[in-house]
Structure formats: structure tokens, C-alpha cells
Amino acid sequence: MKRRLFWDIFFEKALKAAAWVSVLTLAGIFLMLLINSVRAFETISFAQFFSGTAWNPAAYGEATYGIGAMLFSTFLVTLGAMLIAVPLGIGTAAFLSEIASPRVRNILKPAIEMLAAVPSVVIGFLGIVLVAPALAKLFNLPHGLNALNGAILLAVMALPTLISVMEDAIHAVPKSYKEASYALGANRWETLVRVTLPSCTSGILVAIMLGLGRALGETMTVLMATGNAAAMPHGFFDSVRTITATVAIEMGEVPFRTPHYYSLFACALILFLITLLVNVAAERIAAGYRRKGQ
């Protein structure tokens, strides 16, 4: 009896500890980023960091640490990816959930999920040898290493997450809603667009947020496919350098404990805060959605 009690308590504590490990890791990462980032602002002014657009820590003359162009590049690529992935994702999810026969569904769904297993370097490689030349030809550009290329590749990478979460959301819409719609004489298209999709808006929003988080943090693909030009982009046809690519490129060779080193931590902190915000938003929407569902 005593022995049983001991093991019961032991496992309760062990499982609790396991759960806390990830929380503490997150807190540790945040603290490490914060502490190192603060040191960056001993030499770099806030104004320069946030309002400057030129990022050139290894400058020939005076080093500049403006995050503006990189931040805008990151948003540009992510926005583009979402503009491509969201309509595709909603379409695919609606098809899978409402229209496809079980046989088609059983082939399509695993295939889409397999897409998530393709390593990001492979996607980046395809971006260089396949998408970039195609874009250059299509839009008559000198080269295709631009924000649009990055957006297309990130859309491909975000699609599995988007589709999977959206499909679950659409699937969870109560059957009675649809039956009521059919009873009123609506056809399948009208039911989908007027009834099913509007009633799972928050689920779709959660999917978009999760896809957004995925696209924001992606590094290798954008590093390979967007040309990495530090200049402020004027549109989707310009080469861009995202925050993730900058940190990945420069972290390897930066002398430790220099303003440049600390400024990379500051970049990483900004990125961390943005993705955290996106994830918290997704969590909040999902929570509201669950409450409504009950």
C-alpha cells in the first residue's frame, strides 16, 4: 500500500517536472536573449536600431545597426506567403472536408502532411534552381532571387499546417447547421460559403496565425532564395534579407562580446517577441472558439 502510494506520488512529480522543463526552457531562452540584447543598447541607440534602415555592422567606415529594412523584408515575405497560402489552404481544406470522397481524402491528406516533412534546405534549393528562373521568365526580371520567391516557398511550407488546422475546424462545424441550410434550399456552394465557413472563422484564424508563426521563423529557405540584399526593398520583385537570415549569416563569425554580437541577440529577441505575440493571439482566438463551441 505504502509502496503504491510512493510510486503514485513519484510519477505525479516526475510528470510535473517534465512539463516544467519546457516552460523553464522558454523562460531561459527569453532571459538569455533579453540580457544579451540589453548590452547591445549600451553602444547602439534605440533610435538607430528601430528607425534606422541600414544594417551594416561590418561597414568599411562606421558600423550601422538599423533593423528597419530587415523588419520590413520579414513582413513583406510573410505577408506574401500568407496571401498565397491562405486562399489555397481554405480551398483545399474545404474540398477535403466537404467535397472529396473518402478515397480521395485518404490519399490527399497524408500527401499534404508529407509536404511538412520536406527539409527547408530542399525547399530553398528548389527555390534557387526552379522557382527563381521561372519567376524571372514569367515577369521578365533579370533574376528571381526576390521577396516573391521567398513568399512562394514559405507558402508551400506553411500549407500543411494551415490545411490541417483549417480542415479540423471545418470538420468540427455541427452537421445540424448544414442540414438546416440544405433544408432551406441552399446548394452545397452556398452552404459552404454562407454557413460552414463563417461558423468556423475563429478556427481558420488560428490556422492562419500558426502558419504565420511558421513563416516568420523560417530561416534556411529565405536565406537561400531571396538574394540577401540588405537594401530596403520597394516591392516583391526586390531582393530582401530577413531577420532570421541576418542572424544565421552573421552569428557564425561575429567576435564574441562586441556590439555586433549583442545586436544579433537584439534581432533574435525582436523575432521572438513577434512570434510569441502571434502564438498568443492564436491561443486567445482558439480559447474563445472553444468557449463558444460548448
Binding site: 561590418a58 533579370p142 533574376h143 532571387l145 538574394g227 540588405a230 537594401a231 563569425e253
Partner: protein, 291 residues
């Protein structure tokens, strides 16, 4: 780099099994690390009483190691700078250079760029963004599309120092390595980029398809030389050859001297040529000192 690490581990392990083995520690330039590794491998085949331990990290790391006394030889793809020399003097380190090989940078364009040769000054203007359109150099009306390396590359620094003397145009596309620059230049009709000379040719020694090599002259009025022109390079007429250094503290002696002699030997120089670098004797470095 990775092979370098494995190889050093291998050497360390094999050193454990032998007795009375003298160890030479070599540290520094990433440009040189694989070449020196091959040289050391061949050298150790001929002399079983020596073990050479090689790591990369960059030219600055090698020189710092020499100044701190934790390496015997520093590999460096650049000359020692005045600041490092003062440090050396303070610490009583007598830095002695040895040039064992050379490396040339090649400027490549897409074949449709109507340009065959450039003077160094115009090349600098192109990469710093003062020349933005091929029209300014007598070409068609098209925007120049720049390709270069990332700031962690020694070549990035060398090219900026030697050719630009200022910052790169912020619109330059920073590629991951030489091979990526070649692929990008092939695909972009307005492209110009710089790569290591060894990447111009394939395994059989033929020029790679789809790129055009730009001939360079130091200044107006001089003959422009292609980096593939062996005689021109030997005469020191190609402006972008750079010596690859090894530095020691004091004159090299004993096994280090023997290793240097091996590098200078015809066999050593043939390894250098095979790896796509220039043997020191063929680089015309005496006529091509830094300005």
C-alpha cells in the same frame, strides 16, 4: 572546416599510438585550411616522426593564436596589419612571413553583358553602386545586378579593401558561396560577381559554361589580363592575385622548416595547383604588391 576537424582528430588519435613524434600546430585562414590539410597529409606520409595539427577559424584567429603563443604556424590569406604588429612587438613575438601559394579572384558576368574588360577603379564603382546601369559603361540600358559573398567571408573583406575602399552597394545580393554566385550569374543577364579563381574551371580544367570572365587592368592604358592567362598572372599583371601566408614566431626551424621545404618542392606545388590555387612562383606576386 568539417573535414578539417575530423582530420585533426584523426591526427591526434594517430599521434597517441606513436612515440617521439613532434607536433606542429597550424591555425587560421579558412581559405587555406583544406589546402594546407592536403599538403600536411602528403608531408606526413614522407615523415613519420611528425604530426601536423590543423584548424581553421579565420586569418585573424590564426594570427591571434601566434601572438598568444598557442599555435606554431598561423595561416593567413591577408598580410599582418599594423595593430597586430604592435601587439607582436609588445609581446616579443617576431613575426616571420612565408608565402607558399597564391589565390586569384575572378570577375564573372553573364555572357550577354556587353563588357570584356574593366579597370580596377570602374570595378570598384560598380560594386559600390556608383555605376548602377550598364549604359554608363557603354552597354545597354539595364540595371547592374551585383553578386558577392557574405560578411563572414575573408574574400568579402579582401575585395572590399583592395577594390572598393568603401562599403558595398547595399543592393548587392549576398550568396552563400562561390558555387551559388556562379549559378546566380548564369541565370541573370545583367549579373556581375566575384569568385575564387579555382571555381572558374571544372575538374577537367575547362572554363565553366554560361559565364564570361572579365579581363582586368590596374589602371587605364594598361593591358587587361584574364585570370586564366597564366603568363599574365606570372608577370604580375593581373590585379587581383593575393598571396597566401604562413607566419611563424622567429625564423622557421626543424620540422616547420622541413614542412615549408616540402610545400616549396615540386610535389608540394603540384598539390597546390591541383587544388585550384596558384603556386607561389607562378603568381607574379613580386610585381603585384599591395598598393
Amino acid at each position: 572546416m568539417r573535414t578539417g576537424l575530423y582530420f585533426s582528430i584523426l591526427i591526434l588519435l594517430s599521434a597517441c599510438t606513436r612515440r617521439n613524434v613532434e607536433t606542429i600546430t597550424i591555425k587560421g585562414s579558412d581559405t587555406e585550411v583544406n589546402l594546407v590539410l592536403q599538403l600536411a597529409e602528403a608531408y606526413m606520409d614522407s615523415d613519420l616522426d611528425v604530426s601536423v595539427n590543423i584548424t581553421g577559424g579565420g586569418s585573424g584567429v590564426g594570427i591571434a593564436g601566434l601572438l598568444n603563443g598557442n599555435t606554431d604556424v598561423a595561416n593567413s590569406s591577408r598580410d599582418i596589419n599594423p595593430y597586430e604588429l604592435t601587439l607582436a612587438a609588445e609581446r616579443g613575438v617576431a613575426v616571420v612571413p612565408f608565402v607558399f601559394a597564391a589565390d586569384a579572384l575572378a570577375i564573372i558576368c553573364h555572357p550577354s553583358v556587353p563588357l570584356d574588360s574593366l579597370i580596377l577603379k570602374d570595378l570598384g564603382k560598380i560594386f559600390s553602386g556608383e555605376i548602377q546601369n550598364w549604359q554608363q559603361l557603354g552597354g545597354s540600358n539595364a540595371k547592374v545586378s551585383l553578386y558577392g559573398r557574405q560578411s563572414n567571408s575573408g574574400t568579402f573583406m579582401y575585395f572590399r579593401e583592395r577594390v572598393l575602399g568603401k562599403d558595398y552597394d547595399p543592393g548587392i545580393k549576398q550568396m552563400n558561396g562561390n558555387a551559388q554566385i556562379i549559378e546566380a550569374v548564369k541565370a541573370d543577364p545583367n549579373a556581375i560577381g566575384y569568385i575564387g579563381f579555382g571555381y572558374l574551371t571544372d575538374e577537367s580544367g575547362a572554363l565553366r559554361d554560361g559565364i564570361k570572365v572579365i579581363k582586368l587592368a590596374k589602371m587605364k592604358g594598361q593591358n587587361a589580363i584574364s585570370p586564366l592567362d597564366k603568363a599574365g598572372i606570372k608577370a604580375g599583371l593581373y590585379p587581383l592575385t593575393r598571396p597566401l601566408y604562413q607566419f611563424t614566431n622567429g625564423e622557421p626551424r626543424g620540422k616547420i622548416l622541413a614542412f615549408y621545404e616540402f610545400e616549396k618542392s615540386p610535389f608540394g606545388q603540384s598539390i597546390i595547383a591541383k587544388n585550384g590555387y596558384l603556386p607561389a612562383s607562378e603568381a607574379g606576386l613580386a610585381n603585384n604588391s599591395r598598393q
